[in-house]
Symmetry: D3
Subunit: 256 residues, 6 copies
């Protein structure tokens, strides 16, 4: 019993990772999970937020947003509504936490990296695409900082991070749900994992349904395999040279 | 190796559930997990939000907040700041989702129940206490609606819901963390479960740390045992008579 | 002609003052005027707001709020609406002004005390209960500061402050109105007074009605007697020892 | 011992009332208490706010604001800050309550009158000037509605309303304080009264000071005499013809 | 073919410029273009905004607003709505840009001048009246600063600035449109010019219509003649002495 | 004397227009003016805003925004700041006005088209690129509505609309300024024109500089030639077939 798009239950959609999508940020990656397209940009600033100044530690944070035109029915612009919605907050915090798990903030030195994840087109799994693409943008920003001689220690990244969704649809556990499956899933789970096979975040939810522990176990199996495949694709993308001009190793003021 | 408060790793703090704490709401429960105290009030209104009207389905939602004086260092009032913070949004949504998982909204009929969870004193685990106490307040509101003859079907609650935190502290998996442990936990997880032993929500996070799948398994073991004990205490509390005057079975306009 | 609750016109409801209600704030008092219950917490911070820094003077301010579940019909949460309402502002300012009238801010030294007055249950007279309970919480915070050796002068409190409502209901002047009377009062007045019998604030209003000066005089008579009784009950409550552990007299950084 | 401006303690400043100051609103009055200048405009709309629709009752409300350039030091614009301050709320509510006390809302019929009180120049007593001028603007709006044949009953105004400030300065009770006295007053009181000599609102405050009941009595004596004089000047101004073109007695849609 | 008010197509309405309208600001001008009346106040503060501090340059900015009672139908108050509308922003920025074009900010020294333009009565052309009156208020503030000895250089004003509206109504190009013409104009243009005949700003718009370049040329002819006449009236008004008491040439802290 | 990028003064940058960039909106166009890239999406909804309902007229409006990562230095997100800035408002209004000038809203019927213009990469001229690309997206949305049989009249577009910037840089009039020129331009002008050679909007500004009328004339010459070239490129792009699947001519509910 195949899925609408012909995949087996445990197979990812087509994944594409394009580095150097924009010219200004130190890292800029367009990540695609099937029709889901997210632009992940890593902007670097010298210094850290005030509450952290003088600690010697850097800071990594993320902001997630959806273009109004990204969804099937146009969504209202949060800037026009004058407030960030609860879902946006939740996802921004998830991305930030996930990427901080892989970086040694002391090695980063007192630099701030903001990862902007703007969804260009939404078809399910935007937050997991954002984590996966955000990691690649972060890696490019680290390369940029290294070239500029601004890292406290040359290797701040301890591991690679990827994420994928998994759920129960039509009573079957399935990996990497497009919107058509996601919108009718009985259970929905997002898993963030490292290339060492350890977990960073597990969020499983049954709205209007509950699930057995054995189902949770099978979802984790699928998700960890999916993350391993994503790690492989990240590594492949990062094996290419830095897509732009790296700075000279003199003290520069800021680049965003 | 005991914990600061003398408990074994897999033991809950002292739990107290006091029904009928306020006079106006249909359900009002003070729940205490050790020094954590949360007031959970279930207010009933006839009708449902506009986007749901005419569907025959009811609605259950939750709002979580912290009194400024509840924490060790006074917190700013969100009403004064003019916006709900990301953490507050996330927890409100979690409580609402968790309680909706146990209720048949068609049986509820076109009534709305708002569960207000106001933290009087915070010492770790306020969100899981809120879910646990919120269920008892919800059960009282259902009793109230039943007495008033306003349910579409007499038994809308399909199961009982409780929640507990679990984490890794000092390298050991521990249940029901107080603030002192929570603030230095390497991994932090919240589990919402039913009295049938199934899961509603699993949220595990390692900020600045990752965790093995075997650790996740052990955390789930502890959490499911904790939830079972909480279900027992909820049932005990609900075995007592409704703490107040039930309405006559005539159509009433509203009670909040 | 007795009132619904059997009281004479010039008699207060049952008053209860419970100190040490919460563990973290330096002062925490639950005050009850009949079914009206207000939690008054006095949190201490070292230093003063920027506009006051370097003056040698301390600062006392208050924030009043109502739990959504405190009223007969559930009230919307001001944090969700994103703004503080006019009534809330007015009452917060009244409480702050009233408590500042009794304290020598030079003797307080450059410390800030915030009095949070959160209404747990509303049945008329919440603002006057808040002033009355807020004074007791303030007195405990002063004791705490004194023990910590952080006062510029040992006796900053010049007098005790209490408040009570009075109004014209059914053509009769009545003291300490519950909601049932307050909602149909022709004239409504709040009086804040000291234990020396002097006045701090008098606010009398006739919405949709006017009142003679002789009525004002009689309302003042009742209110001043009511305040004297409240002062007696405050003194009784404060005669008990400080409900918690006082700090050592070394310079501490902050306690809230 | 005369005051800085040469007045005796119980004498008003020069009062000027100019009707017809603007061309669009049904009533538009510039009121001056010495250097304090407030523009009071009464705008009429057919219909009432939704919560009042179908009741047969009209509605009167007020909005108070200060031009940034009205004060000695320029004030920030509340629209730029994005929120109405507590003081502005308090005064708007006071003006609205005071003017509603003199009007029979059933006689007004389902019309809304908004009284905008914009302070052009501030020199103490802006809120009492606003009430005093607001009454005259309201009277003009009533005349306008009567000419248009839109009143439910021809005489909705039951009495005239005026207001004045009084305080204790340099230990002496003084009437109608300019900024120079107001800013150092030990006690500050605002009194709203009718031309029948009855009271509508009494607000007396001692910030950082308390006051004896006998002082309150003397302040009331001065204020009631001041209000009587203001009532005389209002009547004088209103004895002149309506300053503009009155509508024909046909049903008109709206005028603001 | 004359216009409703009898003017020829290329003639301004009656223009009146009244200096010294308020007592506190360094410049305060009531400007009238027919029935349009705008109060322009120039308030001076020592120092500049933070992003400019230490540059040696001064700053001039403007805030435009409309009284609710200024328009035919009462407008909602932006402070109550909690946000500045797009039109208000646009006009404030236009006034600020226009007045900065005539001033040497280095000669001004590190002083800030805020020009508040509050519309008392609106009948078309409020933004161009605001620029025209704002220039006169600015000139008075410069005189005030010069008297106080606080200018870096004695002549910061390089030219005079005025503005006027012009449009196409009933197929004819017309100058200085009142509301009755403005509301049905096919093309609407605002021109800001100097007394040297050069341009500062040209904003021409056809909403729901387009216009030929030859029409643009004729509109510019009319507008430049109108501005020249306005410059003559500004010079006439400024030929009178400063309307108030100038400061002594000692270093003063601030005046607003 | 050539420009930094080698162009003559009156030559446009490389222009690229890509239709069908996103899958959901009825029109979705990526427009590029050199390194400036703007995504213009036209979303269709049945019905019109409430203030317009029942008029038989349609509505076209625009919202402009900048991705935080689009600029050289990362910009703050307006949704996070909680308010739309003045510049964003101004540009959104300009785009909406410009596109409404070319469309017959009666022929559109009671449909709403929202044009979202999100800047992916900024290098000067983002607002004129947005107008130019927005017109192409609008044309696609009209084609879509026509195929669906939802237009009141088959040809609502009366003309094509394009826009370009022009300015004075280094004393020379230059067309289509990149950021490097724009940031130091003495005069900056935006011109919106139709393919009939008529004008829709002219906005010329000299901040800190004024300009002669002859300069204005030369800027208009350059701009009108630039717009004619842009019209040619728009027509070329629109000569290709509709990039997606057109709906069947049955009444459909909505597409965004």
């Amino acid at each position: 019993m195949l899925r609408t798009d012909g995949r087996n239950d445990d197979v990812l959609r087509d994944i594409r990772i394009t580095r150097g999508y924009q010219q200004w940020p130190a890292g800029s990656v367009l990540v695609e999970f099937g029709n889901t397209r997210v632009l992940c940009a890593a902007s670097v600033t010298e210094g850290v937020p005030r509450w952290r100044a003088g600690s010697g530690l850097g800071w990594v944070t993320a902001e997630y947003a959806m273009l109004p035109s990204a969804t099937h029915t146009r969504g209202d612009r949060e800037a026009v509504k004058g407030r960030i919605g609860g879902r946006t907050h939740e996802i921004s915090r998830l991305i930030g936490r996930s990427l901080r798990a892989c970086i040694d903030l002391a090695a980063l030195g007192e630099n701030t990296i903001v990862i902007d994840c703007d969804v260009i087109q939404a078809d399910g799994g935007t937050r997991t695409a954002a984590v996966t693409g955000g990691y690649v943008a972060l890696a490019d920003a680290i390369t940029w900082l290294g070239a500029a001689g601004r890292l406290a220690d040359p290797k701040p990244l301890a591991c690679a991070v990827s994420a994928v969704s998994v759920g129960v649809v039509d009573g079957r556990v399935r990996l990497d749900l497009p919107y058509e499956e996601d919108s009718r899933a009985e259970v929905d789970m997002n898993v963030v994992a490292t290339d060492a096979g350890t977990l960073i975040e597990v969020q499983g939810t049954g709205e209007g349904a509950t699930f057995a522990r054995s189902t949770l176990d099978k979802m984790l199996d699928f998700a960890l395999e999916g993350c391993a495949e994503l790690n492989r694709l990240q590594a492949e993308a990062l094996a290419l040279p830095y897509p732009g001009v790296l700075p000279e190793p003199k003290p520069k003021k800021s680049r965003s």
